[in-house]
């Protein structure tokens, strides 16, 4: 599903954030990527959805070669990915229901189907009663639950999450982990999560990678 061979990532010419990084993630796997702050975790996952280009090496995501990927192929790839950002990245002028509908509409679903799916997901994240609210009217934990619902809405092949529980209270964190576990176990979605701390007693099979000084290690 995701293969990286000796990739180099950087924001400028002089300093590589990821150096000679290699990894292989199979379909339906649940992967945690750990490491200290500034180790390059977020940079690595940004490269998976084409937000940062490769300097050297080869990276394939869902069979798509990322180096030199065309704009139209990148759009197609992103439609098969659900992304959860640390800062949620919800559209504040829209209701949370409309936010969840976004990937569905981009994937060409009708408004009716998109709305039904959004309402279904809102009940999963226990926010049905707030469907007409705008994101900035919700707490951080609630916003992240909306972001998770949005990432799941179009039944993607891969979910990429950057510190999804970093700023959350225990209850919201538990809801988020349960949703991601459910997506992986029940829907067979490949999940890649960047996190400082892997939750204890996670309950499902997972693999853990770590990044130190720009080098990717297999932990378990």
């Amino acid at each position: 599903m995701i293969t990286a061979r000796e990739i180099y990532l950087s924001y400028d010419k002089n300093r590589f954030i990821i150096k000679k990084g290699s990894l292989h993630i199979r379909e339906k796997e649940f992967i945690f990527i750990g490491g200290n702050s500034g180790s390059g975790k977020s940079t690595l996952i940004k490269s998976l959805y084409g937000d940062i280009g490769l300097k050297h090496g080869e990276l394939f995501v869902d069979g798509q070669k990322m180096k030199g990927i065309s704009a139209s192929n990148l759009r197609k790839l992103r439609r098969d990915i659900g992304i959860i950002f640390q800062d949620y990245k919800l559209i504040n002028e829209w209701t949370i229901e409309e936010n969840i509908m976004l990937p569905l509409k981009i994937n060409g679903y009708s408004s009716d189907i998109s709305r039904k799916q959004a309402l279904n997901l809102l009940s999963h994240v226990k926010l049905s009663h707030r469907k007409g609210y705008k994101p900035n009217e919700l707490s951080g934990g609630e916003q992240q639950r909306v972001a998770v619902a949005r990432a799941l809405a179009h039944n993607p092949k891969i979910i990429i999450a950057d510190e999804p529980t970093g700023n959350l209270d225990d209850y919201s964190a538990e809801v988020v982990w349960n949703l991601l576990k459910g997506a992986n176990e029940q829907l067979g979605i490949t999940v890649v999560v960047v996190t400082h701390r892997v939750p204890k007693n996670f309950g499902i099979k997972f693999r853990q990678l770590s990044i130190e000084d720009g080098i990717i290690y297999e932990v378990s």
Binding site: D51, A71, R75, R78, I83, I91, I106
Partner: protein, 272 residues
């Protein structure tokens, strides 16, 4: 309120440009109408020793010949009949050359007129050509100058308007940058992501069109108040309002959409 203010910054230059365009359309209509009127009244007189083959004379100086009227010899002679004997009239009839009045489809400029004279004189049988250059219409020349000046002013305002509109669209892109980026992360095309900006621009274009359309209709319905009746006796200054409104509408949408696409293209180049 903020949204209204930002739409206002888009509407003002676009409306100014459309008003200039409407004035340009109006002057073009007046000039064309006046040109038609004087071209109907205008003709060149040609004197030829032998009859002219009219089919060979279809165009002069790039201007098509509308028709060639042969002046009746009898009519010319009848004007002088009183002073001449029958014998002289008979002799005159034999010796009198052929007279023609050439009507052109378009009213010629002074230089075109000189060119026409040269071309006619190249015909061997043509003895004399009278182009009535002294009567050549100075009002027409003045109108042409005014029309050209308005065309130049329109082009200048058009350029300024496009620059200001492009800047406003860039501001909208900046305001919606976060939203556009989120949509693009989810695989939306640039067109889909910029939907809000495109809707703002189309809305602005429609508002501008409505303002200018209202002014044009108002002007067209009240021409007698604005312009002296003498002018209206000379030319028909009423606009074909439907046709002109369509032109203004197309220009309004074209400028808005083409500017949006220009900015979108630049945005895409910078962000892809």
């Amino acid at each position: 309120m903020k949204s209204l203010k930002s739409i206002f910054s888009f509407i003002v230059p676009l409306t100014a440009m459309l008003i200039t365009f409407a004035i340009f359309l109006f002057t073009t209509k007046v000039v064309d109408d006046y040109k038609l009127k004087i071209s109907n009244d205008y003709s060149i007189v040609v004197v030829s020793s032998l009859p002219l083959v009219k089919d060979n004379l279809s165009e002069f100086a790039g201007i098509k010949v509308k028709n060639i009227v042969t002046l009746e010899k009898n009519k010319i002679i009848s004007n002088m009949k009183n002073n001449l004997s029958d014998k002289s009239i008979k002799l005159l009839k034999q010796r009198l050359p052929y007279f023609y009045k050439i009507h052109l489809e378009k009213y010629p400029t002074s230089s075109e007129l000189n060119q026409i004279k040269l071309e006619l004189k190249e015909i061997k049988t043509v003895k004399k050509v009278e182009i009535f250059s002294k009567n050549h219409n100075q009002i027409y020349l003045l109108l042409l100058i005014i029309q050209k000046i308005i065309a130049i002013v329109f082009v200048v305002i058009l350029l300024y308007a496009v620059i200001i509109i492009a800047k406003q669209i860039k501001i909208w892109f900046y305001e919606h940058h976060e939203k556009i980026a989120i949509m693009r992360f989810h695989g939306a095309s640039i067109l889909y992501s910029a939907g809000t900006v495109i809707r703002h621009a189309i809305f602005g274009a429609l508002i501008s069109f409505v303002i200018v359309a209202f002014l044009m209709i108002l002007l067209n319905e009240n021409l007698s108040i604005i312009f002296p009746s003498e002018l209206q006796n000379v030319v028909d200054i009423r606009l074909s309002i439907n046709a002109e409104l369509i032109k203004v509408f197309i220009l309004s949408l074209f400028i808005s959409i083409s500017t949006i696409f220009g900015v979108l293209f630049k945005y895409k180049l910078n962000n892809d």
